[in-house]
């Protein structure tokens, strides 16, 4: 049984005990969560992937328990929304509100000291803690950790060595969890990191709501350290800060000073060679000298992007031909084996024609997804964020903005959700507002259809493929506009918050093929099934709209589709979009693609299939190329119209799910409506500029 909503009701309703996974960002919590629960939450090699709580169920022998995955945090002093989730949750447990049976503190074994800081804060709760030393495969043989000594010194329930990457030690962890759940021993951790004189000074600030007095003291210290007025008593805070200063401590760094003093003693005794191994320049640092170099870094990044977009065209050609052959075969099979009638027409012209026109783009979606996953899993994406931090700040953004923006190349929705890692509301809002301008994979079918139909496959300067170059230009146009608008928005959105950028650069990893394959398959499944369902439904409804009312063809030479409901709607829109070079068919596509951008392609395919007089399914590219205006005798679609349409889709607001998620994340309709307005105006003006400008320059 799977439970996905974390609340008291859902936890209780399963009658299973439950445990919580906590740890620093990028220490492998979600990888452990996925292996234990069998779920497929996104994991990657950079911090801040998990931005919300997720729960799954684990079975071990006859015992079952629920497991809660929380966003990563370095400490309980929250700096961003995702860290606030953890901090709030832990405070509730400290007040005795539905605490877990055990906390699994996931620790990156290659960075023991820093990771144990959060563990030491969790020990104050007096809830059983199991330390899961993950990434044990990264530890060299001379820096082994004495797990028994660590268990004794931290006085935790268990210390388990594991490697989520190699799927090692997970059974030991499950066994430790079940043992703790079954045990009735009372927990009293010996986290004596705070001296008695300091405790005495903090007494007036200790919240009596906390079940554990140790947590109460630590919480009071965090309030005082951050100069947060407790019950509005500022004078008392100042007085305590002065007293702490008189004891020889800096009140701002007191908690860190005391905890690290305690942790360093422990680490020194359990890992004798730790300091020696830290001094060595790692292989990742050697790679970073080149990949994050001031000049070489950006050149390498641009080259990588160019390679990706070129590959999308060149590698996908053969599988696309296979899919096209398959679709033609299915269509021919239905035509041969069904009697003529409305159902056969719906199947061939609506479903097979509409959905088939989209399915052939699956290889390109998978190739894009493959490259993005590899960039994330190797740790390269984190370096890109580091390299671009300075430029991002100049544009009114944040270094952390780059990771959501890069996610936007796959889909804007996870990108918008991952802006929660940005602690400044202004920078977060600006990132959300510009994110739909990053060309997502849903635009890829539109771009590639138009490029393959109207941009000649010629090579410039011996190695630049014009089709690939056009695709790069579309991605670049969206990204550049996003950055310019970020600067504009930062001038108008007034909020006096700023934030610092601290990003832990994870070591480079060779991506695990199983993990990469799973990401790519999930993306393919989402494209085929999630998007496929709405594409199929729209294709069916559109077939009816394009086929009715029926017209007696003996009284007119004009194709009956022009008299259909779809034709009438399209012709009503046409005057508005005619200045952009678009005809009524594109007008229908612009309307239907508000459900999802790729619906544009299936819409065009359905319209052409209904319009065609023959039995065979039409080739959309050929149909668009050969479409001629009956009045002028000129081609309806030209390279200039194709460029204008691509530019329209670079900026267009066509994605309902994006705006729904923006409403949720901003908690208002104001920002999604603003986004729809500005993106639509931008798309219209962009396409108008390209089409009219092209005509003035003599292009057709």
């Amino acid at each position: 049984m799977r439970t996905h909503f974390f609340d008291k009701k859902s936890i209780d309703s399963t009658n299973h005990p439950w445990v919580a996974l906590l740890g620093n960002p990028n220490c492998g919590k979600t990888a452990i969560f996925n292996i234990l629960s069998g779920l497929s939450q996104k994991v990657s090699n950079y911090p801040g992937i998990t931005v919300e709580k997720k729960i799954g169920t684990v079975k071990f022998g006859k015992k079952s328990f629920n497991i809660l995955d929380l966003p990563g945090t370095y400490s309980l002093s929250a700096e961003s929304f995702d860290e606030q989730i953890v901090s709030d949750q832990v405070q509730n447990w400290a007040k005795g509100e539905n605490p877990p049976a055990a906390i699994i503190s996931v620790v990156d074994a290659s960075n023991l000291s820093r990771n144990l800081y959060l563990t030491s804060q969790l020990l104050d709760l007096d809830i059983p803690v199991i330390v899961a030393l993950n990434m044990i495969d990264r530890i060299d043989s001379q820096a082994q950790i004495d797990q028994n000594s660590l268990k004794t010194q931290l006085s935790v329930a268990a210390v388990v060595l594991l490697s989520a990457k190699l799927n090692q030690g997970l059974d030991d962890l499950k066994e430790a969890i079940v043992t703790v759940i079954n045990s009735e021993e009372k927990t009293n951790h010996q986290s004596n990191w705070i001296s008695l004189p300091v405790q005495n000074e903090l007494k007036p600030f200790i919240d009596q709501q906390f079940v554990s007095s140790k947590f109460g003291v630590a919480h009071a210290l965090r309030l005082v350290s951050r100069n947060i007025n407790h019950n509005g008593n500022a004078a008392q805070v100042d007085s305590i800060r002065n007293s702490i200063s008189n004891l020889g401590f800096n009140p701002q760094t007191l908690e860190a000073t005391l905890r690290y003093r305690w942790i360093d003693e422990i680490v020194k005794s359990v890992q004798s060679r730790a300091k020696t191994s830290i001094r060595k320049i790692s292989r990742s640092e050697q790679w970073d000298k080149i990949l994050t170099h001031r000049w070489f870094g950006p050149i390498i990044f641009v080259t990588v992007l160019y390679f990706i977009f070129q590959s999308i065209f060149t590698w996908a050609t053969i599988p696309m031909d296979w899919i096209q052959t398959g679709i033609d075969w299915v269509s021919a099979f239905v035509l041969k084996n069904m009697f003529p009638g409305m159902l056969r027409d719906v199947l061939v012209e609506g479903i097979i024609g509409g959905v088939g026109a989209i399915v052939i783009f699956l290889p390109q979606i998978l190739i894009l997804s493959l490259f993005l996953t590899i960039m994330e899993d190797t740790g390269y994406m984190a370096r890109v964020a580091f390299m671009l931090d300075k430029s991002m700040t100049k544009m009114g953004l944040h270094g952390k903005s780059i990771l959501p923006l890069m996610s936007g190349y796959a889909c804007a929705i996870p990108g918008i959700m991952s802006t929660r890692t940005i602690d400044s509301w202004k920078e977060r809002l600006i990132t959300i507002l510009i994110l739909p301008l990053m060309s997502c994979s849903a635009r890829l079918p539109v771009y590639t259809l138009l490029i393959s139909a109207f941009i000649p496959p010629i090579t410039l300067s011996g190695y630049l493929n014009l089709q690939g170059l056009t695709l790069v230009v579309m991605y670049f146009l969206g990204t550049a506009t996003a950055l310019i608008l970020a600067k504009v928005f930062s001038k108008f959105i007034k909020e006096k918050t700023s934030s610092s950028f601290v990003l832990e650069l994870p070591p480079y990893h060779v991506p695990i093929p199983r993990s990469v394959l799973r990401h790519v398959l999930i993306r393919g499944k989402l494209f085929l099934i999630n998007a496929g369902k709405i594409i199929m439904a729209i294709s069916i409804v559109l077939w009816f709209l394009a086929s009715f009312p029926k017209v007696d063809q003996s009284i007119t030479d004009v194709n009956p589709i022009h008299y259909s409901y779809a034709g009438k709607i399209g012709h009503a829109i046409e005057p508005v979009i005619r200045p952009l070079g678009f005809d009524w068919k594109i007008g229908i596509g612009l309307l239907t693609s508000f459900a999802a951008r790729e619906v544009m392609v299936s819409t065009m395919a359905t319209i052409y299939n209904v319009e065609a007089t023959g039995d065979n399914i039409v080739n959309l590219r050929e149909a668009m190329r050969s479409d001629v205006d009956v009045k002028t005798g000129m081609p309806v679609y030209t390279p200039l119209v194709a460029l204008a349409l691509m530019v329209f889709y670079v900026f267009a607001a066509q994605c309902m799910a994006t705006f729904a998620i923006v409403r949720q994340e901003t908690n208002s309709w104001k920002w999604p409506l603003f986004m729809i307005a500005y993106l639509t105006i931008l798309a219209y003006l962009g396409a108008l500029f390209v089409y009219q400008g092209g005509l003035l320059l003599g292009f057709s």
């Binding site: 939450q41 159902l343 989402l526 999630n530 069916i540 409804v541």
Partner: protein
């Protein structure tokens, strides 16, 4: 009216209601992180409202 017309009409009605349903669902409860299998809708805004 032959059987093909009746089935096609039924498919058309189902497709129409499916589209309406998708739009209404989006307005009430937006699509969640499409990169994960079956993620929960985040509750951060509710928490924020409560804390205010």
């Amino acid at each position: 009216m032959n059987w093909q017309t009746i089935i096609a009409g039924g498919i058309g009605i189902i497709a129409f209601w499916y589209i309406i349903g998708v739009f209404l669902r989006q307005l009430k409860k937006p699509e969640v992180d499409p990169k994960c299998d079956d993620c929960p809708v985040p509750d951060i805004m509710d928490n924020k409202r409560e804390s205010k």
